[in-house]
Protein backbone atom coordinates (compact mmCIF):
# COMPACT_ATOMS: atom_id res chain seq x y z
CA UNK A 1 0.00 0.00 0.00
CA UNK A 2 1.22 3.52 -0.74
CA UNK A 3 2.51 5.58 2.11
CA UNK A 4 0.04 8.44 1.54
CA UNK A 5 -3.47 8.65 0.18
CA UNK A 6 -4.46 11.93 -1.42
CA UNK A 7 -8.11 12.88 -1.87
CA UNK A 8 -8.67 15.86 -4.14
CA UNK A 9 -12.06 17.50 -4.63
CA UNK A 10 -13.09 17.19 -8.27
CA UNK A 11 -12.40 20.52 -9.96
CA UNK A 12 -15.15 21.99 -12.14
CA UNK A 13 -14.23 22.24 -15.80
CA UNK A 14 -13.09 25.80 -16.44
CA UNK A 15 -14.92 26.32 -19.69
CA UNK A 16 -16.12 29.90 -19.34
CA UNK A 17 -13.59 32.67 -19.82
CA UNK A 18 -12.67 34.59 -16.68
CA UNK A 19 -13.75 38.22 -16.66
CA UNK A 20 -10.15 39.40 -16.56
CA UNK A 21 -9.50 38.04 -20.03
CA UNK A 22 -12.98 37.83 -21.53
CA UNK A 23 -13.78 39.83 -24.63
CA UNK A 24 -17.46 40.60 -25.02
CA UNK A 25 -19.87 43.37 -25.86
CA UNK A 26 -23.52 44.24 -25.88
CA UNK A 27 -25.34 47.06 -27.67
CA UNK A 28 -28.98 47.98 -27.82
CA UNK A 29 -30.71 50.92 -29.47
CA UNK A 30 -34.34 51.85 -29.62
CA UNK A 31 -36.11 54.88 -30.99
CA UNK A 32 -39.56 56.37 -31.20
CA UNK A 33 -39.26 57.03 -34.91
CA UNK A 34 -36.61 56.81 -37.52
CA UNK A 35 -37.03 58.71 -40.76
CA UNK A 36 -34.95 58.89 -43.85
CA UNK A 37 -35.80 61.39 -46.51
CA UNK A 38 -34.21 62.13 -49.85
CA UNK A 39 -34.90 65.03 -52.13
CA UNK A 40 -34.21 64.84 -55.82
CA UNK A 41 -32.80 61.88 -57.65
CA UNK A 42 -31.10 59.22 -55.49
CA UNK A 43 -27.80 60.43 -54.01
CA UNK A 44 -28.59 64.13 -54.23
CA UNK A 45 -29.58 65.14 -50.70
CA UNK A 46 -30.55 62.89 -47.84
CA UNK A 47 -31.65 63.54 -44.31
CA UNK A 48 -31.90 61.02 -41.54
CA UNK A 49 -33.68 61.88 -38.32
CA UNK A 50 -33.86 59.66 -35.25
CA UNK A 51 -36.44 60.70 -32.69
CA UNK A 52 -35.89 59.73 -29.07
CA UNK A 53 -32.97 57.35 -29.47
CA UNK A 54 -31.88 55.48 -26.35
CA UNK A 55 -28.75 53.36 -26.32
CA UNK A 56 -27.10 50.94 -23.92
CA UNK A 57 -23.63 49.44 -24.14
CA UNK A 58 -21.52 47.04 -22.14
CA UNK A 59 -18.06 45.58 -22.48
CA UNK A 60 -15.46 44.25 -20.09
CA UNK A 61 -15.28 46.49 -17.03
CA UNK A 62 -17.37 49.26 -18.59
CA UNK A 63 -20.94 50.15 -19.37
CA UNK A 64 -22.64 53.24 -20.72
CA UNK A 65 -26.02 54.53 -21.78
CA UNK A 66 -27.44 57.52 -23.60
CA UNK A 67 -30.83 59.14 -23.99
CA UNK A 68 -31.38 61.78 -26.67
CA UNK A 69 -34.23 63.82 -27.99
CA UNK A 70 -33.05 63.95 -31.58
CA UNK A 71 -30.20 62.91 -33.80
CA UNK A 72 -30.17 64.28 -37.32
CA UNK A 73 -27.78 63.60 -40.12
CA UNK A 74 -27.74 65.48 -43.37
CA UNK A 75 -25.63 64.32 -46.26
CA UNK A 76 -22.20 65.82 -45.74
CA UNK A 77 -22.18 67.66 -42.42
CA UNK A 78 -21.70 65.82 -39.14
CA UNK A 79 -24.72 64.64 -37.22
CA UNK A 80 -26.77 67.20 -35.34
CA UNK A 81 -27.17 66.21 -31.74
CA UNK A 82 -29.72 68.40 -30.03
CA UNK A 83 -29.42 66.99 -26.51
CA UNK A 84 -28.04 63.75 -25.13
CA UNK A 85 -27.84 62.47 -21.58
CA UNK A 86 -24.85 60.19 -21.06
CA UNK A 87 -23.97 57.90 -18.17
CA UNK A 88 -20.87 55.75 -17.91
CA UNK A 89 -19.47 53.36 -15.35
CA UNK A 90 -17.55 52.47 -13.27
CA UNK A 91 -18.43 53.93 -10.89
CA UNK A 92 -22.19 53.55 -11.29
CA UNK A 93 -23.91 56.64 -12.57
CA UNK A 94 -27.47 57.72 -13.25
CA UNK A 95 -28.37 60.83 -15.22
CA UNK A 96 -32.00 61.93 -15.12
CA UNK A 97 -34.82 61.51 -15.45
CA UNK A 98 -34.56 64.87 -17.14
CA UNK A 99 -36.91 66.77 -19.39
CA UNK A 100 -35.22 67.10 -22.74
CA UNK A 101 -35.33 70.14 -24.97
CA UNK A 102 -38.34 70.11 -27.32
CA UNK A 103 -37.46 69.50 -30.93
CA UNK A 104 -37.87 72.80 -32.78
CA UNK A 105 -39.06 71.45 -36.09
CA UNK A 106 -42.83 71.88 -36.03
CA UNK A 107 -44.95 71.49 -38.03
CA UNK A 108 -42.82 69.09 -40.06
CA UNK A 109 -41.76 67.26 -36.92
CA UNK A 110 -43.43 67.83 -33.59
CA UNK A 111 -42.33 65.89 -30.54
CA UNK A 112 -43.89 66.69 -27.21
CA UNK A 113 -42.69 66.26 -23.64
CA UNK A 114 -39.50 64.31 -23.96
CA UNK A 115 -37.97 62.81 -20.85
CA UNK A 116 -34.71 60.93 -20.79
CA UNK A 117 -32.72 58.84 -18.38
CA UNK A 118 -29.37 57.10 -18.64
CA UNK A 119 -27.97 54.64 -16.13
CA UNK A 120 -24.68 52.75 -16.11
CA UNK A 121 -24.11 50.21 -13.35
CA UNK A 122 -20.76 48.50 -13.81
CA UNK A 123 -19.59 48.54 -10.15
CA UNK A 124 -15.81 48.49 -10.49
CA UNK A 125 -13.01 47.07 -12.56
CA UNK A 126 -12.76 43.34 -12.08
CA UNK A 127 -16.25 42.92 -10.63
CA UNK A 128 -19.32 42.07 -12.63
CA UNK A 129 -22.66 43.77 -12.10
CA UNK A 130 -25.36 41.70 -10.44
CA UNK A 131 -26.98 39.26 -12.82
CA UNK A 132 -30.41 40.71 -12.19
CA UNK A 133 -29.49 44.36 -12.74
CA UNK A 134 -28.94 45.98 -16.15
CA UNK A 135 -25.34 46.94 -16.71
CA UNK A 136 -26.66 49.89 -18.68
CA UNK A 137 -30.04 51.38 -19.40
CA UNK A 138 -31.10 54.22 -21.68
CA UNK A 139 -34.68 55.38 -21.80
CA UNK A 140 -36.68 58.12 -23.54
CA UNK A 141 -40.37 58.86 -23.06
CA UNK A 142 -42.47 61.13 -25.23
CA UNK A 143 -46.08 62.17 -24.99
CA UNK A 144 -46.52 62.20 -28.77
CA UNK A 145 -44.55 62.52 -31.96
CA UNK A 146 -45.98 63.80 -35.23
CA UNK A 147 -44.42 63.81 -38.65
CA UNK A 148 -45.76 65.60 -41.65
CA UNK A 149 -48.27 67.88 -40.02
CA UNK A 150 -48.00 70.51 -42.72
CA UNK A 151 -51.16 72.40 -41.94
CA UNK A 152 -54.35 72.49 -39.95
CA UNK A 153 -56.37 71.22 -42.89
CA UNK A 154 -53.90 68.55 -43.91
CA UNK A 155 -53.56 65.27 -42.07
CA UNK A 156 -50.22 64.33 -40.60
CA UNK A 157 -48.41 61.40 -42.10
CA UNK A 158 -47.98 59.72 -38.75
CA UNK A 159 -48.63 60.41 -35.11
CA UNK A 160 -47.57 58.17 -32.28
CA UNK A 161 -49.10 57.76 -28.85
CA UNK A 162 -47.27 58.06 -25.58
CA UNK A 163 -44.23 55.86 -25.93
CA UNK A 164 -41.17 54.88 -23.99
CA UNK A 165 -38.14 53.45 -25.67
CA UNK A 166 -35.77 51.50 -23.51
CA UNK A 167 -32.44 49.90 -24.26
CA UNK A 168 -30.63 47.69 -21.79
CA UNK A 169 -27.62 45.45 -21.56
CA UNK A 170 -27.20 42.86 -18.87
CA UNK A 171 -24.85 40.07 -17.89
CA UNK A 172 -27.44 37.46 -17.10
CA UNK A 173 -26.85 34.17 -15.34
CA UNK A 174 -26.09 31.25 -17.60
CA UNK A 175 -25.54 27.58 -17.09
CA UNK A 176 -22.00 26.71 -16.20
CA UNK A 177 -19.89 24.49 -13.99
CA UNK A 178 -21.08 24.14 -10.43
CA UNK A 179 -19.66 26.72 -8.08
CA UNK A 180 -19.04 29.30 -10.78
CA UNK A 181 -20.87 32.50 -11.63
CA UNK A 182 -21.23 32.05 -15.37
CA UNK A 183 -22.80 34.88 -17.35
CA UNK A 184 -24.12 35.53 -20.83
CA UNK A 185 -24.46 38.89 -22.58
CA UNK A 186 -27.97 40.11 -23.17
CA UNK A 187 -28.98 43.19 -25.16
CA UNK A 188 -32.62 44.22 -25.23
CA UNK A 189 -34.52 47.01 -26.95
CA UNK A 190 -38.19 47.73 -26.46
CA UNK A 191 -40.83 50.37 -27.18
CA UNK A 192 -44.09 50.72 -25.28
CA UNK A 193 -45.93 52.57 -28.01
CA UNK A 194 -49.65 51.80 -27.83
CA UNK A 195 -51.11 53.31 -30.99
CA UNK A 196 -50.19 54.88 -34.31
CA UNK A 197 -52.32 57.21 -36.39
CA UNK A 198 -51.64 57.19 -40.11
CA UNK A 199 -52.89 59.95 -42.39
CA UNK A 200 -54.71 61.70 -39.59
CA UNK A 201 -55.96 58.63 -37.81
CA UNK A 202 -59.19 56.70 -38.05
CA UNK A 203 -62.44 56.76 -36.19
CA UNK A 204 -65.26 59.32 -36.14
CA UNK A 205 -65.43 59.39 -39.90
CA UNK A 206 -61.78 60.28 -40.39
CA UNK A 207 -60.22 58.86 -43.50
CA UNK A 208 -57.00 57.69 -41.89
CA UNK A 209 -56.01 54.61 -39.99
CA UNK A 210 -55.39 53.99 -36.33
CA UNK A 211 -53.26 51.02 -35.37
CA UNK A 212 -53.50 49.79 -31.81
CA UNK A 213 -50.55 47.84 -30.47
CA UNK A 214 -51.49 45.27 -27.89
CA UNK A 215 -48.03 44.41 -26.65
CA UNK A 216 -44.76 46.29 -26.63
CA UNK A 217 -42.43 45.06 -29.34
CA UNK A 218 -39.23 43.80 -27.79
CA UNK A 219 -36.07 42.61 -29.48
CA UNK A 220 -33.69 40.56 -27.34
CA UNK A 221 -30.30 39.19 -28.23
CA UNK A 222 -28.63 36.67 -25.93
CA UNK A 223 -25.06 35.57 -26.55
CA UNK A 224 -23.99 32.68 -24.35
CA UNK A 225 -20.99 31.55 -26.35
CA UNK A 226 -22.82 28.45 -27.46
CA UNK A 227 -24.92 27.96 -30.56
CA UNK A 228 -27.31 25.80 -28.59
CA UNK A 229 -28.40 28.54 -26.24
CA UNK A 230 -27.65 31.83 -27.98
CA UNK A 231 -30.72 33.34 -29.55
CA UNK A 232 -32.39 36.42 -30.93
CA UNK A 233 -36.08 36.90 -30.28
CA UNK A 234 -38.57 39.51 -31.44
CA UNK A 235 -41.47 39.26 -29.07
CA UNK A 236 -44.79 38.81 -30.79
CA UNK A 237 -46.69 42.02 -30.94
CA UNK A 238 -49.76 39.98 -30.16
CA UNK A 239 -53.06 39.43 -31.77
CA UNK A 240 -56.19 40.96 -30.22
Amino acid sequence: MAGALTLVSPAAPASATPLATATFSGHATSEILETFGAVGPPGTLAVRVDVGPATANVSRNASSATASNLLAKITGPPAINVQTLTASAPPPQTVGPTTLIPIPAAPLLDVKLLTGQATASWPKVGTCPAATVPASLGSVTTAAATIGGLGADLPSLIRTSVATTQSTTQLVSASGPAGTDTRAVQARATNTISSIDLFGGGGSGKPGITITINKAPTLTGLATGSTATSKLTFSPVGEP
Binding site: L5, A16, A28, T169, T182, L198, G205, I211, T212, S230
Partner: protein
Protein backbone atom coordinates in the same frame (compact mmCIF):
# COMPACT_ATOMS: atom_id res chain seq x y z
CA UNK B 1 -53.00 44.32 -33.53
CA UNK B 2 -56.11 46.11 -34.75
CA UNK B 3 -56.84 48.76 -37.28
CA UNK B 4 -59.68 51.11 -36.60
CA UNK B 5 -60.78 52.53 -39.90
CA UNK B 6 -63.90 54.62 -39.59
CA UNK B 7 -64.18 53.47 -36.01
CA UNK B 8 -64.35 49.78 -36.84
CA UNK B 9 -61.44 47.76 -35.56
CA UNK B 10 -60.24 45.07 -37.89
CA UNK B 11 -57.77 42.41 -36.91
CA UNK B 12 -54.59 42.40 -38.91
CA UNK B 13 -52.05 39.68 -39.23
CA UNK B 14 -48.45 40.46 -38.63
CA UNK B 15 -46.40 40.50 -41.72
CA UNK B 16 -49.11 42.22 -43.72
CA UNK B 17 -48.05 44.67 -46.39
CA UNK B 18 -50.32 47.32 -47.81
CA UNK B 19 -49.19 48.70 -51.16
CA UNK B 20 -49.65 52.37 -51.98
CA UNK B 21 -50.01 53.59 -55.55
CA UNK B 22 -51.46 57.02 -56.00
CA UNK B 23 -51.39 59.53 -58.82
CA UNK B 24 -52.14 63.14 -58.00
CA UNK B 25 -51.84 65.26 -61.08
CA UNK B 26 -48.31 64.80 -62.36
CA UNK B 27 -47.08 63.28 -59.12
CA UNK B 28 -46.98 59.51 -58.71
CA UNK B 29 -46.74 58.12 -55.20
CA UNK B 30 -45.72 54.52 -54.73
CA UNK B 31 -44.64 52.46 -51.79
CA UNK B 32 -46.18 50.50 -48.99
CA UNK B 33 -46.91 50.04 -45.33
CA UNK B 34 -45.51 46.96 -43.63
CA UNK B 35 -46.46 45.51 -40.29
CA UNK B 36 -43.39 43.55 -39.49
CA UNK B 37 -43.63 40.16 -37.84
CA UNK B 38 -40.00 39.35 -37.31
CA UNK B 39 -36.49 40.61 -37.05
CA UNK B 40 -34.26 41.18 -40.05
CA UNK B 41 -30.55 40.85 -40.54
CA UNK B 42 -30.44 38.12 -37.92
CA UNK B 43 -27.00 36.72 -37.08
CA UNK B 44 -26.46 33.94 -34.55
CA UNK B 45 -23.08 32.25 -34.41
CA UNK B 46 -23.25 31.32 -30.75
CA UNK B 47 -20.61 33.86 -29.81
CA UNK B 48 -22.37 36.67 -31.67
CA UNK B 49 -26.04 37.53 -31.94
CA UNK B 50 -27.43 40.52 -33.82
CA UNK B 51 -30.62 41.69 -35.44
CA UNK B 52 -32.94 44.57 -36.24
CA UNK B 53 -36.67 44.98 -36.05
CA UNK B 54 -39.31 47.64 -36.41
CA UNK B 55 -42.96 47.54 -35.59
CA UNK B 56 -44.07 49.39 -38.68
CA UNK B 57 -42.27 50.65 -41.75
CA UNK B 58 -43.54 52.98 -44.41
CA UNK B 59 -41.81 53.65 -47.68
CA UNK B 60 -42.99 56.25 -50.16
CA UNK B 61 -41.43 57.48 -53.35
CA UNK B 62 -42.69 60.47 -55.31
CA UNK B 63 -42.03 60.72 -59.01
CA UNK B 64 -43.03 63.22 -61.65
CA UNK B 65 -44.87 61.56 -64.45
CA UNK B 66 -42.91 62.77 -67.42
CA UNK B 67 -43.65 59.89 -69.69
CA UNK B 68 -42.08 56.49 -69.89
CA UNK B 69 -39.27 57.36 -67.41
CA UNK B 70 -40.68 59.21 -64.37
CA UNK B 71 -38.17 61.30 -62.42
CA UNK B 72 -37.84 60.69 -58.68
CA UNK B 73 -38.25 63.90 -56.74
CA UNK B 74 -38.43 62.63 -53.18
CA UNK B 75 -38.39 59.49 -51.11
CA UNK B 76 -39.28 58.87 -47.50
CA UNK B 77 -38.66 55.82 -45.39
CA UNK B 78 -40.13 55.80 -41.94
CA UNK B 79 -39.83 53.22 -39.18
CA UNK B 80 -41.92 53.17 -36.02
CA UNK B 81 -40.23 51.68 -32.97
CA UNK B 82 -37.01 50.66 -34.69
CA UNK B 83 -34.96 48.34 -32.51
CA UNK B 84 -31.44 47.00 -32.78
CA UNK B 85 -29.44 44.65 -30.59
CA UNK B 86 -26.11 42.91 -30.88
CA UNK B 87 -24.16 40.92 -28.34
CA UNK B 88 -20.95 38.95 -28.31
CA UNK B 89 -19.64 36.50 -25.76
CA UNK B 90 -16.56 34.33 -25.42
CA UNK B 91 -17.09 30.62 -25.93
CA UNK B 92 -19.21 29.17 -23.12
CA UNK B 93 -19.74 32.52 -21.48
CA UNK B 94 -18.04 34.73 -18.94
CA UNK B 95 -16.84 33.53 -15.57
CA UNK B 96 -17.52 36.45 -13.30
CA UNK B 97 -16.47 34.82 -10.05
CA UNK B 98 -15.69 31.41 -8.74
CA UNK B 99 -16.79 30.08 -5.39
CA UNK B 100 -13.76 29.39 -3.15
CA UNK B 101 -12.39 25.97 -3.92
CA UNK B 102 -11.42 23.99 -0.81
CA UNK B 103 -7.74 23.06 -0.71
CA UNK B 104 -6.85 19.48 -1.60
CA UNK B 105 -7.46 17.14 1.31
CA UNK B 106 -4.49 14.89 2.18
CA UNK B 107 -4.97 11.90 4.44
CA UNK B 108 -1.77 10.26 5.71
CA UNK B 109 -2.41 6.87 7.28
CA UNK B 110 -0.23 5.61 10.16
CA UNK B 111 3.08 4.07 9.24
CA UNK B 112 2.27 0.81 11.00
CA UNK B 113 1.98 -2.17 8.70
CA UNK B 114 -1.49 -2.59 7.38
CA UNK B 115 -3.70 -5.23 8.82
CA UNK B 116 -4.50 -7.90 6.28
CA UNK B 117 -8.12 -7.89 5.46
CA UNK B 118 -8.33 -11.29 3.94
CA UNK B 119 -7.08 -14.79 4.33
CA UNK B 120 -3.58 -15.57 3.13
CA UNK B 121 -3.24 -17.22 -0.18
CA UNK B 122 -1.63 -20.34 1.26
CA UNK B 123 -1.25 -22.02 4.62
CA UNK B 124 -3.65 -22.65 7.41
CA UNK B 125 -5.61 -20.03 9.29
CA UNK B 126 -7.66 -17.38 7.78
CA UNK B 127 -7.97 -15.07 10.78
CA UNK B 128 -4.51 -13.60 11.09
CA UNK B 129 -5.82 -10.06 11.25
CA UNK B 130 -8.33 -10.93 13.91
CA UNK B 131 -5.73 -12.84 15.87
CA UNK B 132 -3.28 -9.92 15.89
CA UNK B 133 -5.96 -7.49 16.89
CA UNK B 134 -7.16 -9.84 19.61
CA UNK B 135 -3.64 -10.22 20.92
CA UNK B 136 -3.13 -6.48 21.12
CA UNK B 137 -6.42 -6.07 22.94
CA UNK B 138 -5.59 -8.89 25.30
CA UNK B 139 -2.20 -7.33 26.05
CA UNK B 140 -3.81 -4.02 26.87
CA UNK B 141 -6.28 -5.73 29.23
CA UNK B 142 -3.49 -7.54 30.99
CA UNK B 143 -1.43 -4.38 31.37
CA UNK B 144 -4.35 -2.47 32.84
CA UNK B 145 -5.45 -5.27 35.18
CA UNK B 146 -1.85 -5.91 36.24
CA UNK B 147 -1.32 -2.28 37.06
CA UNK B 148 -4.59 -2.26 38.94
CA UNK B 149 -3.66 -5.36 40.90
CA UNK B 150 -0.26 -3.92 41.76
CA UNK B 151 -1.86 -0.71 42.86
CA UNK B 152 -4.30 -2.54 45.11
CA UNK B 153 -1.50 -4.62 46.67
CA UNK B 154 0.58 -1.46 47.29
CA UNK B 155 -2.38 0.24 48.98
CA UNK B 156 -3.00 -2.80 51.17
CA UNK B 157 0.66 -2.79 52.26
CA UNK B 158 0.53 0.92 53.04
CA UNK B 159 -2.67 0.43 55.01
CA UNK B 160 -1.06 -2.40 56.94
CA UNK B 161 1.97 -0.28 57.84
CA UNK B 162 -0.25 2.58 58.93
CA UNK B 163 -2.22 0.28 61.20
Amino acid sequence: MTVGAAGTPVALSLGISVPINLTVGAIMLSGGINLNAGAVGVVNTGTMVAGDAALLTIGLTARINTGPAPIQVAAVELAVAPLHVDATSPKDGIQCATAPTPPPTTVTPPTTPPIPSGAPQTGAGGTAGVQEGALIALGLVLLVSGAGAGSMAYRRRRAGHAA
